[in-house]
């Protein structure tokens, strides 16, 4: 297998192992996701807004913010242990570094989403029997886009003073197109609408992913260069 892919997997595995040992990011993100779902439920007027109307937005707001918490933690943990500088001194091409970080972040965020989804089904009483594959697919499509942007912005934010604040401030505008698309598709999936009604949004998500994963990968070199 090409060297850089191997390096990327090594870097990703290192991050994931470190997180499995300390579990802080996953834990905080999971608690956060649960809280958001609970608040959404109590914040709505049951006579005015049905659970099914609110569900897609509740799910995606939860995913979005939990993902940000997870991405934030992954870089801060590394900074605290000074591992990032060590990583940069080693002759690792920035593409491998980016791919490794992206994979690790995707693993974190996927884990959080995997925990949040059953909670969502529980609290909002949705029937996912037919929609589940679609929801998982949409989640993957939307998540890749904003996690790629979050990975590169995280690498920048961690070098600033207010890192925890800087990442959300930079990232939120970039999360909006994938979020709009994801919510639109999810609500149609839950209503068992035909695929044709979602194609426009799915195309938007796919193009967004291609553009921003590529862009983030190319720009990463400029962020980590000394």
């Amino acid at each position: 297998m090409p060297e850089w892919i191997r390096l990327a997997l090594v870097i990703a595995a290192k991050d994931v192992r470190a997180e499995l040992r300390s579990k802080t990011a996953l834990l905080s993100a999971t608690v956060f996701a649960s809280l958001v779902l609970v608040i959404f439920n109590f914040a709505r007027d049951p006579t005015a807004l049905s659970a099914t109307d609110l569900a897609p937005s509740a799910l995606w707001v939860t995913f979005a913010f939990a993902a940000m918490v997870a991405m934030n933690r992954s870089f801060t943990v590394e900074r605290e242990h000074g591992a990032l500088d060590g990583l940069l001194l080693a002759p690792v091409p920035s593409s491998a570094l980016f791919a490794g970080k992206l994979l690790a972040n995707l693993a974190f965020v996927a884990a959080v989403e995997a925990v949040a989804l059953p909670l969502f089904v529980l609290f909002f009483n949705v029937d996912l029997s037919r929609a589940l594959p679609g929801i998982i697919g949409t989640a993957a499509l939307a998540t890749i886009g904003f996690v790629a942007v979050g990975t590169i912005f995280g690498a920048m934010a961690v070098r600033t003073r207010f890192a925890e604040l800087m990442l959300p401030v930079l990232l939120l505008p970039f999360m909006v197109p994938p979020l709009i698309g994801a919510v639109q598709v999810t609500s149609r999936l839950l209503a068992a609408r035909p695929l044709s009604e979602m194609m426009g949004w799915l195309r938007l998500l796919a193009v967004y992913d291609v553009v921003f994963v590529t862009l983030a990968a190319l720009a990463f070199a400029f962020v980590v260069e000394e």
Partner: protein, 240 residues
């Protein structure tokens, strides 16, 4: 050696002074031009029958939206060029354009609701132009916050450039999302302010206003660039 090293920054400080002065003159002319436009809009342009006097906000609102978009595009383009050429002038320009862009975005985002309230009965509408400008505002703010938080000049320039380019590429996606969203969720049919078949006097006033606003953008960016130039000159002199 120290004497020779001392002369270079002083020249740059003088050059900064020249740049600032030029910017002040351009801005002054533009502001006067805008004052003329105001007179033109209020006294020599017909009143729109259905919207009344409030429609005249249009002559400030649209040019400031244009300037916001112009400012932002140039931030992105200058950033891209900086990553390629590493010329500090591009970074200084990007920083200037971003700050000036915030000023115009603020004008747009305040005149927008003030116009919307009497016409549409609501302070905010998620129409394409307002929503996009709101996004640009947030992107600008993030950009400037990042710049303020990074201390090394070269790192700051690189980081800003990356955010600038990515932000610029985000714009079509935001626009498309809003457009798709609105075609699926038809908004109530409203009076469509301006847009095609503008009477000649209104078009004339709009074009002159846009020209004056663009001139003001150039003037402000020039002053702001001069300030950045002076700050860099100072830093070099104090360090060297």
């Amino acid at each position: 050696m120290t004497i020779l090293a001392g002369t270079a920054p002083i020249v740059t400080l003088d050059r900064a002074r020249v740049v600032v002065r030029r910017g002040v003159i351009i801005s002054g002319v533009a502001l006067l031009g805008i004052a003329v436009v105001v007179v033109l809009a209020l006294g020599f342009t017909p009143v729109e029958a259905r919207q009344g006097l409030a429609q005249k906000i249009f002559y400030l609102h649209v040019p400031s939206a244009w300037c916001t978009l112009l400012a932002f595009s140039l931030v992105g383009i200058a950033g891209g060029l900086y990553l390629w050429l590493e010329d500090p002038r591009l970074d200084r320009f990007a920083a200037a354009s971003a700050e000036v862009g915030v000023a115009f975005a603020t004008v747009m985002l305040t005149t927008g609701p003030i116009w919307a309230k009497p016409i549409w009965g609501t302070w905010w509408t998620w129409d394409a132009r307002l929503t996009l400008t709101l996004f640009l505002f947030f992107l600008f703010v993030g950009y400037l916050a990042l710049r303020a938080a990074v201390h090394d000049r070269h790192e700051r320039a690189r980081f800003s450039a990356v955010v600038g380019i990515m932000g610029l590429l985000l714009v079509p996606f935001v626009h498309l999302s809003v457009y798709l969203f609105r075609t699926l969720h038809p908004q109530p049919i409203v009076l469509k302010p301006s847009e095609p078949s503008l009477p000649w006097e209104m078009l004339r006033t709009l074009l002159i206003s846009t020209a004056m606003f663009t001139l003001l953008y150039i003037g402000y960016v020039t002053i702001r660039y001069g300030i950045a130039l002076a700050a860099d000159a100072r830093e070099e002199r104090d360090v060297g």
